[in-house]
């Protein structure tokens, strides 16, 4: 069969079949490629899009990238409901099945260790936003400062309330992160997302990922929910359950041989 192999994830063999209508990158259904006691989840992708040159160009095309990213995540998501997948980074492509098998064999030890570490665990994303009041471009729409001194006073007041809100949000985020870390096995802090992103309003002051056993997920979610209507002006957002993306790379961090 022609075409390249796009690899989504590596997992242990699992009994539950994938949803029949599940499609992956390029609309192809993902299939399982077992090798030893590991399974690679792969699908066929056309050379016209995924050979080195077109891939490089496509990765710079946002529409293409968005579609592939969503398809990739869709497959990982489906796997997460039936097993514990090790998600690979987007764009892992091999020439044929045997290339994938060779890779599985070469990294077998690594995969096993990481799979053992993550077995039965999922990732939850928690973000804290500081809602911003109408600021900063129009400093004083109604009352124009009457004098320089007036102006200075107004400015000082604005700065002070902004600083207070920031400080409050920071304390809130720190406390929340500490509390959630206690309910999680592991945690990662990610770079804050941009406020304009996804139409999310406010400033992202915490963007964290938590590794939580499935069986404790309900508890974790409840814990997050309870913080949600805490302080006015501060918003908590929960996403998940994700495959343990943020925790898959590690430990095998000494794998520079690859």
């Amino acid at each position: 069969m022609t075409g390249l192999r796009y690899v989504y994830a590596v997992c242990r063999p699992f009994g539950t079949p994938l949803q029949a209508q599940l499609t992956g990158v390029g609309g192809e259904p993902p299939r399982l490629l077992p090798h030893g006691d590991l399974v690679a989840v792969v699908s066929h992708v056309p050379e016209g899009e995924f050979a080195e040159k077109p891939l490089r160009a496509n990765l710079e095309n946002l529409d293409w990238l968005t579609a592939v990213a969503r398809a990739h995540q869709g497959v990982i998501d489906a796997l997460t409901t039936v097993t514990t997948p090790l998600p690979l980074r987007l764009g892992t492509v091999f020439r044929d099945d045997s290339g994938v098998r060779t890779m599985l064999e070469a990294r077998e030890e690594d995969f096993r260790r990481t799979l053992d570490r993550l077995e039965g665990r999922v990732e939850w994303g928690v973000k804290v936003f500081l809602e911003e009041e109408r600021e900063p471009r129009a400093p004083a729409p109604a009352a124009k400062p009457a004098s320089g001194r007036d102006y200075l006073r107004q400015r000082r007041q604005q700065t002070r309330s902004r600083d207070d809100a920031w400080q409050q949000a920071e304390i809130f985020a720190t406390d929340l992160h500490r509390a959630l870390s206690e309910s999680a096995e592991d945690s990662r802090l990610h770079a804050p997302q941009n406020p304009t992103l996804s139409g999310a309003t406010g400033r992202n002051v915490l963007n964290a990922a938590y590794l939580v056993p499935r069986v404790k997920s309900e508890e974790f979610v409840e814990r997050v929910d309870r913080t949600k209507d805490g302080i006015p002006g501060i918003r908590v957002e929960l996403t998940g359950p994700w495959a343990a993306y943020s925790f898959a790379g590690e430990e095998s961090a000494g794998k520079e041989e690859a």
Binding site: L4, L59, L62, A69, R89, V93, S147, R214, Y245, A248
Partner: protein, 113 residues
């Protein structure tokens, strides 16, 4: 086997999952394996994609939370504007200070004449 039924319903995932959440994970996280098709995703991810996005579609890039160029005066007129605003504010403060300093002597002068 695992017990998916124990898992709470997804929060903010699926179609509502924001693109930044997804890209953050599928591009930045996950296991890195050198496939047969060699792409240095790190390079592309950090430089090319973001740069191209700026050129290709600022709105979409912003949707994704990529906006670092906005604060770089070399790349953004808004950043230049912000710099002007800052400078303006500084000048106003200096003006306010000068007003205070100048007010007293001038008043004294006016009284004298």
């Amino acid at each position: 086997m695992t017990t998916p039924s124990r898992l709470p319903d997804p929060y903010g995932q699926g179609s509502s999952a924001n693109l930044a959440d997804i890209l953050e994970r599928v591009l930045d996280k996950g296991i890195v394996i050198a496939g047969d098709i060699r792409i240095n995703l790190l390079d592309i991810e950090l430089l090319t994609i973001k740069l191209r996005l700026v050129v290709a579609s600022v709105d979409k890039a912003k949707e994704m939370g990529i906006d670092w160029w906005e604060s770089d005066p070399a790349l953004s007129s808004r950043a230049r504007r912000d710099e002007l605003t800052r400078e303006n504010a500084e000048l106003r403060e200096r003006l306010a200070r000068l007003e205070e300093l100048e007010l007293e002597p001038r008043r004294a002068q006016e009284e004298n004449t």
